[in-house]
């Protein structure tokens, strides 16, 4: 087993990986940019080294700096997490050169399956159903437009190197094609340094359902079941669950087998996710392969009881998948919501800043994967994901009830978060019936909100009192100098004892 692992990432996933390592008795090495010195992944690591300024290109995307740290610190493996360099074949290549194990698939498998077009070709060969479209990137817009016409609108343009909806455009009709092509290409260029896009038939209101696979270096490949990820805002998953309410045992077997066939065809090793679109008739179409750990991996962990990160490490160390894992039966239901530092009332604009106060929910069925703490300042330079709140329950209903309960307990002040978005989603009748698709949330948010109702009696009064009380403490404090949080708290203590005795 490895002695020391470098985690080439930051935020909650770096913390998640450090935890797995520490539980395995493996030393952890963190890397950090200038604005991440105080971040939790640095505090929890055994070692931590600076790798440059805040912008990712100058730090977290700098393979040279990361390999340099790995050598200096004497690491025998590197875990890339997700995002940043996780799907960049240059990192495993550099690892191979340095004689350091990359915790993930081989360079070849990553290239064979990572890009959307290559993945699609592989899927065809492996007899995995795919969405009609072009396998290869086409340089010439006119040519692509002709194809789109013959295929029939709506179609979708996607970046070859893409992910997370960047460089992706849905084209409703022929007139909109040229603009969409331009936008997709330039966005792809900015996001991935690769302007190439390809064409696909656009499925109306499909579900996004993905299969978690694991393959060891000894030829065994297993499916750990599906995740339902249809609740997306602008192609970004925001709520994920397992199992999917619509997947039947038969469909689960079919999708699992297809995913395993694909992995075998690509000579894939370690953790991977095969994403499918599923239409109303429960036909499934290959979408793409993510050759890495997924943000939403915890929902699979909660229902299978497996620790996917430890599993990744074991496989990278050459261990075999025990046959028992093939017979894993999911238990209960798990659901994850992604809490972001963004303002749902202001078009989900990112709201970094200092976390002034914070109270996190705990208790039965609640898991929190996060990289934040009270007093920490959320940097503006990175993805504003604060925490992943994951609930488990015996039924989907219990799981949702626990999520709601936990969201009610979760308080974070100083920055805005998207908690209210989940309060809403988790009470929407369509969501509760799981009548959802990849556009469902965007449609919901586009709909006019139901007419506002007066808050239940008491809330307004209490709010007025709180505002006045705040004013009172401020007035008192303004007489003094220095920061006041602590001071006012003390004063209030005094005041409280008196208020208690109010008739």
């Amino acid at each position: 087993m490895f002695k020391k692992i470098l985690i080439a990432n930051r935020g909650e996933i770096a913390v998640r990986i450090e935890r797995a390592c520490h539980e395995l008795g493996i030393m952890t090495v963190a890397v950090f940019s200038d604005v991440d010195r105080n971040s939790l992944h640095v505090r929890l690591a055994n070692e931590a080294y600076p790798i440059g300024p805040a912008p990712s290109r100058e730090s977290y995307l700098r393979i040279d700096k990361i390999m340099d740290v790995a050598r200096r610190a004497g690491c025998d493996a590197i875990h890339p997490g997700y995002g940043f360099l996780a799907e960049n074949a240059e990192l495993p290549r550099a690892c191979a050169d340095a004689g350091i194990t990359f915790i993930g698939p081989s360079v070849e498998a990553m290239e064979a399956m990572g890009s959307k077009t290559a993945g699609k070709q592989l899927a065809r060969r492996a007899d995995v159903p795919t969405v009609p479209g072009t396998d290869t990137a086409l340089e010439n817009p006119e040519e692509v437009q002709a194809l789109a016409r013959s295929m029939g609108y709506p179609v979708v343009l996607k970046a070859v190197a893409g992910g997370g909806g960047k460089g992706m455009r849905v084209v409703a009709n022929d007139a909109a094609f040229t603009a969409a092509w331009r936008d997709a290409s330039s966005e792809a260029l900015n996001a991935f340094g690769d302007a190439r896009v390809f064409l696909e038939k656009y499925l109306v209101a499909p579900r996004h359902i993905e299969i978690q696979i694991f393959a060891d270096a000894h030829g065994r490949v297993v499916s750990l079941g599906e995740r339902e990820c249809s609740v997306q805002r602008r192609h970004q998953k925001v709520v994920e669950e397992a199992p999917s309410p619509v997947v039947t045992p038969d469909l689960r077997r079919k999708m699992g087998d297809a995913a395993v066939r694909l992995a075998r065809a690509g000579g894939y090793v370690n953790a991977g996710t095969v994403e499918f679109l599923v239409d109303a008739q429960l036909n499934f179409y290959f979408l793409e392969v993510n050759t890495r750990l997924q943000v939403e991996h915890p929902v699979t962990e909660q229902v299978t009881g497996l620790d996917l990160v430890k599993l990744q490490i074991a496989i990278a160390a050459g261990h075999r998948l025990p046959f028992a894992w093939e017979t894993i039966t999911p238990r209960g239901h798990a659901m994850e919501v992604r809490l972001y530092a963004e303002d749902p009332d202001n078009n989900f604009f990112p709201c970094p800043g200092k976390i002034v106060a914070r109270h996190a929910p705990t208790g039965p069925g609640i898991r929190l994967d996060e990289g934040v703490y009270e007093g920490w300042t959320v940097p503006m330079e990175y993805d504003p994901l604060l925490s992943k709140l994951i609930a488990w329950g015996n039924s989907r209903e219990e799981t949702i009830a626990r999520l709601r309960r936990a969201l009610d307990e979760y308080t974070i002040t100083g920055i805005r978060t998207n908690v209210s978005l989940f309060r809403r989603i988790l009470t929407e009748p369509e969501f509760l019936r799981s009548e959802i698709h990849t556009k469902w949330l965007d449609d919901l948010l586009a709909r006019p909100r139901p007419a506002p109702t007066s808050p239940e009696s008491g809330i307004e009064e209490a709010s007025a009192i709180a505002a006045a009380f705040w004013g009172a403490t401020q007035t008192r404090n303004s007489a003094e100098s220095g920061p006041q949080t602590t001071a006012s708290r003390w004063k209030l203590e005094g005041r409280r004892e008196q208020l208690d005795r109010t008739p």
């Binding site: 970094p352 800043g353 200092k354 002034v356 106060a357 109270h359 300042t377 940097p379 503006m380 009610d408 308080t411 002040t413 100083g414 209210s420 309060r423 506002p452 109702t453 007066s454 808050p455 008491g458 809330i459 307004e460 009064e461 209490a462 709010s463 007025a464 009192i465 709180a466 505002a467 006045a468 009380f469 705040w470 004013g471 009172a472 403490t473 401020q474 007035t475 404090n477 303004s478 920061p483 006041q484 949080t485 006012s488 708290r489 209030l492 005041r495 409280r496 004892e497 008196q498 208020l499 208690d500 005795r501 109010t502 008739p503």
Partner: protein, 170 residues
């Protein structure tokens, strides 16, 4: 200590008068003229716990750039404007512009990098008073009203917390 609170929610703005009155055995809270059973405690930064007739409310108060307060409790959210008690004489109701002595607060923790006015200066509503830098962004804190700068409570280079008073405009 009497406060007038203009509370704006999804169903419009209402005005409440809250009075924290000292008396021999502690404080009494009066809301819109009625003595009420309210137990008010700040339990954490920006977090106030209120027991109102036994109902337990947890309320988060966050000052905003314009000196108003964002007041949140669970799904409900209001914007509150709190009138300083000393500005009690002769204000017009529902006026567009803040009345009386206004306390200008920092909406975020940060560092005061520039004072734009001095005590005694006449200022317009919306005129910048102080520049607070936070997360590489410079934020100009503006006057909520036309009036005179009565007090500057911070100096350049000083670090301030969210909600800390910066100046008074009379």
């Amino acid at each position: 200590m009497k406060f007038e609170v203009h509370l704006t929610g999804t169903v419009g703005t209402k005005t409440h008068v809250v009075d924290f009155e000292e008396h021999e055995n502690g404080h009494r809270v009066t809301l819109d003229g009625k003595l009420i059973d309210a137990d008010v405690v700040q339990v954490a930064a920006n977090t106030i716990s209120i027991l109102l007739d036994g109902k337990s409310y947890e309320i988060h108060v966050t000052p905003m750039i314009d000196g108003k307060l964002k007041v949140q409790t669970g799904p409900e959210e209001f914007t509150a404007e709190v009138q300083d008690p000393r500005a009690w004489r002769g204000r017009k109701h529902g006026a567009q512009e803040a009345q009386g002595r206004q306390q200008v607060m920092s909406p975020m923790p940060g560092k005061v990098i520039r004072l734009l006015v001095n005590v005694g200066d006449e200022v317009e509503a919306g005129q910048g008073l102080v520049v607070v830098e936070a997360m590489k962004m410079q934020n100009e804190i503006r006057s909520p009203k036309k009036g005179k700068v009565e007090r500057m409570l911070v100096s350049e280079g000083q670090n301030v917390n969210a909600g800390e008073a910066l100046a008074w405009v009379e």
